[in-house]
């Protein structure tokens, strides 16, 4: 478990410094991945990294195809690709030992010494703010695509088949992003809590924690991958619902 490190932003409020720094770290990892993959772009025989990226592109394309006509969802492709990549890398970040600790041990700027303190890095997705922001973006996309394909008529589905259903539709509308956010956050946060707990086992410095740690890290990789897939698929499905609310 991580202590929350707060940055004070004037009088506006606070920011979870560690979450933000880890987010940027995840960005850097993604940039490196993508840079390696697009460095020598070719329409001929792709390199290994390009092949990997193309696999992800196809994977997400198929997710979109499974849920809606691809032509309607093509605009989502880039967003969903970024989403799945970011969530996956973020989930993995919490499993990586804190290799940056020696660098920032004495850097007090922006509380970096506190941020890079502890046994492992932190998943940005272990912060409800990150997952909630992703869920909110999905909500925005749901409404945007609903309006794009149905005009103002999109809002009519809130009172269908009878106006009495309005509260249910509203709850549905709130529940979708909420479940998205809490599912991801809960999975990853719990994983990190358990890592901290395993690290607190007596005798962990010798050998006692190695086996449970290895088991749990393996499981966390699985969970992290699954959750990145789940949030992508669900976002797509919700948006597809908004697009196709006439047909369904």
């Amino acid at each position: 478990m991580h202590e929350t490190i707060l940055w004070q932003v004037g009088d506006l409020g606070t920011i979870h410094g560690k979450t933000l720094v880890m987010t940027w770290l995840a960005f850097i990892v993604i940039f490196i991945l993508v840079f390696l993959g697009t460095r020598r772009l070719t329409s001929g025989t792709p390199g290994k990294m390009q092949n990997f990226l193309e696999w992800i592109v196809d994977f997400v394309r198929n997710i979109i195809r499974d849920n809606m006509e691809y032509t309607k969802g093509a605009g989502l492709h880039a967003y969903l690709l970024t989403l799945i990549l970011f969530v996956f890398v973020s989930n993995m970040l919490g499993l990586i030992p804190n290799i940056f600790w020696p660098l920032f041990e004495h850097v007090e700027f922006a509380k970096l010494d506190e941020i890079f303190h502890g046994a492992a890095l932190m998943s940005p997705t272990a912060d409800i703010n990150t997952t909630a922001s992703l869920a909110l973006l999905t909500l925005v996309l749901i409404i945007a695509y609903g309006i794009k394909y149905h005009g103002p008529g999109y809002f009519r589905h809130f009172v269908e088949p009878y106006p009495v259903f309005l509260p249910i539709h509203l709850i549905d509308m709130v529940a979708k992003p909420m479940t998205l956010a809490f599912r991801l956050f809960g999975n990853i946060f719990a994983g990190e809590v358990l890592i901290s707990v395993i690290l607190m086992l007596p005798g962990v410095g010798i050998l006692g924690g190695v086996i449970p740690m290895a088991v749990w890290l393996g499981f966390s990789i699985f969970i992290g991958a699954i959750q990145s897939f789940v949030i992508t698929v669900l976002s797509t499905a919700y948006i597809a619902q908004a697009i196709g609310s006439d047909e369904h």
Partner: protein, 165 residues
Amino acid sequence: MNPIAFDLTLPAQIVSFLILVWVLAKFAWKPLMGMMEKRRLFIKDNLEQAEAERREAERIRQEYQEEMRNARQEAQGIMEQAAKNSEQRAAEILAEARRETEKLKTAALADIERERERAVTEVKAQVAELSIAVAEKLLRARLELSGQAELVEQFIQEVGESRPC
């Protein structure tokens, strides 16, 4: 400490993520997907070209087959024609030969006839001569009176010897 605490991190994350989406879309996904599309088109073109070439080859094959069949038919025709021609020619030759023989035969017959007639004429002449001779001898025998029997004998013998045929 409550892990579920919202503060300015939320908008900060939204902005960060949108920047990530924008950057990746512009510098990664767009060129990458462009490449994939290009490859897709390349493969599609190749497949179409291969299909077209296959069709062309099939067409040429059929053409050749047709041509071959025609040539075979033509050869057959020529051979039949030749056989017919030779047969006709053979018949002609045969007929000619037959005509020739006929002609020869007719000529030979005419010759024979002519020879025969000549022979007959000759014989007639000889007969006349002989008759005269016989008459002569008869007259002589009558004149001598004696030895009539010998005279007849002699006459007959002479007639028998002088017969031309």
